[in-house]
């Protein structure tokens, strides 16, 4: 199943959003413009705009208002990606050179700051203080989440609760806000807004857990990098927590990770293999499934519409996705 099939009827709107994304980051400076466009060309699922539009259909659907929210959220996401590539020293994003790789770190910083500023400037067309409060809280939480991720790197003694809090900030909150802001922008009833916010949160949690599982189970060609990349960078994800219940595994991993940034990628592979063979992957899938079920439950309050069907299908896709 292709994700886009779940909302194919939004094609016209999504094309307009793509066009507006392009126009919004049409900088005067040629390098800044090219660097921003580079990101757009690298594409992406545009999942946040999709959530905005779908959530917006539960109120008074006005495309222009929803477009403003959708474009802003996608720009915030893009701005964070440019800066993430500097942090991770990433050379490629979706097979294309990153801004940092094609130009340099400094240009990536300016590009990210520019796109983030454009996003907020554009969003101020929506004169709804509550929308800004929600989004600004999300952004600050997102930053705190990134800082926490750095702080908790290579720490094998953290709890699963830490991990869940981290992925909430890293992924779930922006998806949750996308759904909530879509509902707010269309003036959907409070009850629906709440349900959509929860749906976004649960789907986001599930999405990130599966992302973390795929980092172990996908092939190098699917990932575009060797499997176990998260672990190599010191990020302790859900499958690792389960595998660490075996104290021998944990001790061996502790010894290997002690070298931190100097670990040889090959040293990680036996751990990757062990995790793949253990029940850690299945257990992590089970947690992702629990979040998905909560997402379905959240949708129950909504009327049976095409948009609700799409939200259900998206959640199903996330549960089954393989890349």
């Amino acid at each position: 199943m292709k994700l886009a099939a779940a909302y194919s009827y939004l094609k016209t709107e999504l094309n307009q959003i793509e066009k507006t994304l392009n126009e919004t980051i049409h900088a005067k400076d040629p390098i800044l413009r090219e660097a921003s466009q580079q990101l757009l060309k690298a594409g992406g699922k545009r999942i946040r705009p999709v959530f905005v539009l779908l959530a917006g259909s539960f109120g008074d659907y006005q495309f222009d208002r929803l477009k403003t929210v959708a474009v802003s959220l996608e720009l915030i996401h893009m701005a964070s990606l440019v800066h993430d590539d500097v942090i991770d020293e990433a050379e490629l994003r979706r097979g294309k050179p990153t801004v940092k790789a094609k130009w340099d770190n400094r240009i990536a910083m300016y590009t990210g700051d520019y796109i983030f500023a454009r996003s907020l400037e554009y969003l101020t067309d929506i004169d709804n203080p509550r929308a800004h409060r929600i989004l600004s809280e999300t952004i600050v939480e997102l930053c705190i989440g990134e800082l926490k991720q750095m702080e908790e790197k290579y720490n094998l003694d953290q709890s699963i609760r830490n991990y869940l809090r981290r992925i909430k900030r890293k992924t779930a909150l922006l998806i949750s806000s996308s759904s909530q802001l879509g509902a707010i922008a269309s003036g959907a009833p409070k009850e629906y807004e709440q349900a959509l916010m929860q749906y976004g949160y649960y789907v986001g949690m599930s999405y990130q857990i599966i992302d973390d599982i795929l980092d172990f189970t996908s092939s190098s060609s699917e990932l575009g990098k060797p499997a176990g990349g998260d672990l190599l960078q010191g990020n302790i994800t859900l499958p690792v927590f389960y595998a660490m219940e075996d104290s021998d595994f944990k001790d061996a991993l502790r010894q290997t990770l002690a070298a931190e940034e100097k670990i040889d990628p090959a040293d990680i592979q036996p751990f990757v293999e062990h995790i793949k063979k253990s029940n850690a992957i299945d257990r992590a899938y089970a947690i992702s499934e629990k979040y998905l079920n909560k997402a379905y439950e959240a949708l129950e309050v909504l009327p049976n519409t095409r948009a609700k069907h799409s939200l259900t299908t998206i959640a199903k896709y996330i549960g089954k996705r393989k890349n």
Binding site: I31, I87, Y110, D113, L120, T124, P129, S136, L142, E261
Partner: protein
């Protein structure tokens, strides 16, 4: 307002900014962010001429300074990711990126709490423009050194100028432009003389300067500083009386500059 009250106000606001940006994990690994006292002084003096409530004045100063801190922090992100780079250096760079993002999120957070969508727009637009200007100053060769100096002046002063326009206090703009350019050039010159490094002077030396480019660049910088001081003198004398605190402060600055310069010439 007397000078002691202003001093206390500046201290109080600076401490509020420090509180906002304080983050234990960041503080463990990267230096405390730089809070530009000149910009703080200009903004505070500007706000004190308005009828805004005390709390709104504080919020405008704090959020504008948060933007400045965020921009300055991202300017510190190093360009080279050398293969043999130390782990510590790498972590510092990573945290510098995140710190700037965090400070930037904070200004939006504070203003959204006040439902001040207009000010969010003003600051976001200024950040957008400043990043465009930084690209043209550092990556696209301007037509002339004068053009390039004009761009640097804008980078330094545009944030305050946009805020001033928003609160209809543009009388300050001419002075702040010259003052902030003068300060930036002075810092760059000192840094270059001390360490042999300065991004601005590096751009100047690459700008078709003939024999002994460093010396010529320094001379150019000194000449521009001198012009800035002259223009500051004119601009400060044109400020309305509400700016009397700022006027005295700037007169003292100019006096200090002239005294040091005369000394250099005499000792020359």
């Amino acid at each position: 307002m007397d000078s002691i009250s202003l001093e206390l106000q500046l201290r109080r606001i600076k401490s509020a900014i420090e509180k906002q940006i304080s983050h234990p994990y960041l503080e463990r690994y990267i230096p405390k962010p730089f809070i530009d006292n000149d910009k703080l002084m200009i903004l505070t003096s500007l706000m004190n001429t308005t009828d805004l409530s005390e709390s709104k004045k504080d919020h405008y100063i704090i959020t504008t300074m948060l933007v400045q801190v965020a921009l300055d922090t991202h300017d510190l992100v190093t360009n080279q990711s050398m293969e043999k780079e130390s782990v510590q250096h790498k972590v510092e760079r990573q945290l510098t990126v995140l710190a700037g993002d965090y400070y930037s999120g904070l200004y939006y957070f504070l203003l959204s709490k006040l439902d001040d969508v207009d000010m969010i727009h003003v600051l976001a637009s200024a950040i957008k423009e400043i990043n465009e200007l930084k690209m043209s100053a550092y990556y696209n060769k301007p037509d002339s050194i004068q053009d390039w100096m004009r761009v640097v002046k804008q980078i330094e002063s545009l944030l305050i100028q946009r805020v001033a326009e928003h609160i209809q206090g543009t009388e300050i703009n001419a002075l702040s432009g010259e003052w902030l350019l003068m300060r930036r050039l002075t810092k760059e010159k000192q840094h270059f003389l001390k360490s042999g490094q300065s991004e601005l002077i590096h751009v100047l030396t690459g700008h078709e300067l003939s024999n002994n480019p460093s010396k010529q660049a320094i001379q150019l910088v000194e000449g521009t500083i001198q012009k800035c001081v002259q223009k500051m003198e004119t601009a400060v004398n044109q400020l309305p009386f509400q700016f009397n605190q700022l006027t005295s402060y700037v007169h003292a600055l100019i006096y200090d500059y002239s005294r040091k310069n005369t000394k250099v010439v005499e000792e020359g």
